[in-house]
């Protein structure tokens, strides 16, 4: 599963919806029923509830339209694009639009309204598309779905509960502490003083702080960092990364996990990856790296493994002789295993657990010791 960029979600559990207009393909009652049934699909696995409004501005406005319909995402006649929806938020966000050039039906003889509505409402709640071909949130319409036994896939349930957690225990069930979603359950509180990072990298002027399957994205024009799933932008990358660094001259970010590494440019994972880290010149004894950073001035990339580091020459594309060297010898004061390294403002920032060492390469000394999450406005 994945969520929209910035991970928008409703900040309340009781949402409203309104069916603004109707298709001529079906009786109104059939449309009402299909929408209600589609909402129940999500209600059943979350704390969310949906109340219908007959007028005014509801959170989720549902309408039928053809071709250009005022949102710069025109429909395209019969087939191809069936519908679209917007992620949670004010005004047109959260809304669902159905292409009325489709033949909307209650069964599978045409385009089943319930099935498409359940998918689009997944978007209205904050889910992006899934690569799981069995998931409701898979982008292609599956006309062979057995409508009589429709069920969300585990991927759909994992996705929506990642955002909203599971439904509250019903009165009959024993009171168990409702496990909230990872966002609330503390596993991902950005100002947790114990927070550490898996990897940190710049990317086209932004700074990315990777943790588990997520990353915080620090945009210089936005004080608050944005939390995203790695899969939202790079569906093929793994989670729990080891290291990441940007080579600005190549407009590329290199991502490491275990013996493999990937090159990404913006959204695009470059062809021919993953490659083995040993192609960079590491001996076979090295099974992973802990951290990496590329010095754009010197055109050297530093790789950190346990208590040593290596230096890679970006011009000759080769590991330099005389390495590895002890980190303590050349970066005095940087203690402990290095989780991640960032170069900014002429300093190197070494992240080790919840501690961050600001290192001045000219003075060759640690100038500040900070909390790792100081970059996240904590």
């Amino acid at each position: 599963f994945s969520t929209f960029p910035g991970m928008p979600k409703w900040r309340k559990n009781h949402l409203t919806y309104r069916i603004v207009n109707y298709t001529q393909d079906l009786p109104r009652a059939a449309v009402d029923s299909a929408i209600k049934k589609a909402l129940k699909v999500w209600e059943g696995v979350t704390p969310l509830t949906f109340t219908r409004m007959l007028e005014g501005e509801a959170d989720i406005m549902i309408s039928f339209a053809v071709r250009e319909h005022g949102d710069f995402y025109p429909f395209d006649g019969p087939g191809n694009r069936l519908a679209h929806a917007y992620p949670p938020g004010p005004e047109f966000y959260g809304d669902v639009h159905f292409d009325d050039d489709e033949k909307w039906t209650e069964d599978a003889s045409g385009t089943n309204l319930f099935l498409v509505a359940a998918h689009e409402l997944g978007h209205s709640l904050g889910l992006f598309h899934s690569t799981d071909t069995k998931a409701l949130m898979y982008p292609l319409y599956n006309s062979f779905t057995d409508l009589t036994r429709f069920r969300l896939s585990q991927d759909d349930v994992d996705g929506i509960q990642f955002l909203y957690g599971p439904p509250p225990p019903s009165p009959a069930e024993p009171e168990v502490p409702a496990e909230s979603s990872p966002l609330e359950s503390g596993t991902l509180v950005k100002c947790d003083p114990a927070l550490s990072f898996d990897a940190v990298s710049t990317l086209r002027g932004e700074i990315l702080f990777f943790k588990n399957r997520y990353f915080w994205r620090k945009l210089h024009w936005k004080p608050q960092p944005e939390l995203n799933l790695i899969s939202t932008f790079w569906p093929s990358l793994p989670s729990d990364l080891d290291a990441a660094y940007e080579v600005i001259s190549k407009d590329a970010v290199f991502i490491f996990k275990g013996r493999k590494f990937w090159e990404v440019r913006g959204n695009d994972v470059q062809a021919g990856y993953p490659r083995s880290i040993h192609t960079l010149g590491f001996p076979a004894t090295i099974r992973k790296i802990d951290a990496a950073v590329s010095d754009k001035e010197k055109k050297k990339t530093y790789f950190f493994t346990e208590d040593k580091y290596w230096r890679f020459d970006e011009k000759s594309q080769s590991m330099e002789k005389g390495f590895p060297r002890f980190i303590a010898d050349d970066f005095p004061g940087v203690d402990g295993k290095v989780d991640a390294v960032l170069q900014a403002f002429g300093f190197f920032y070494f992240f080790s657990g919840s501690t961050q060492f600001e290192f001045d390469p000219n003075a060759r000394k640690v100038t500040h010791v900070l909390k790792s999450n100081s970059w996240l406005m904590c």
Partner: protein
């Protein structure tokens, strides 16, 4: 016209595929089929990305299977974040 290769005859499948990749996979709007470069790098990469996302064999080519899938009805929301 690019010196290193004549503009190939129009390929309706490629047109449809490029439109699909622009709509759903962030293929840059300026990748214009008229200036089709020999290696067609960005489009091939995007075809591979789309094939991987949709669970197809990653060939980087508009094989029949891929063409069949991109003509299937779908949701209008993109598959990859901007």
């Amino acid at each position: 016209y690019p010196l290193n290769g004549a503009v190939k005859e129009e390929n309706p499948n490629m047109d449809f595929a490029q439109k699909y990749l622009k709509n759903y996979y962030n293929l840059a709007k300026d990748v214009n089929q008229v200036y089709r470069r020999k290696d067609n790098g960005p489009v091939v990469k995007k075809i591979q990305e789309m094939q991987k996302f949709l669970g197809l064999e990653v060939t980087g080519k508009l094989d029949s299977n891929t063409l069949e899938v991109i003509r299937k009805p779908r949701c209008g929301v993109p598959d990859v974040g901007q």
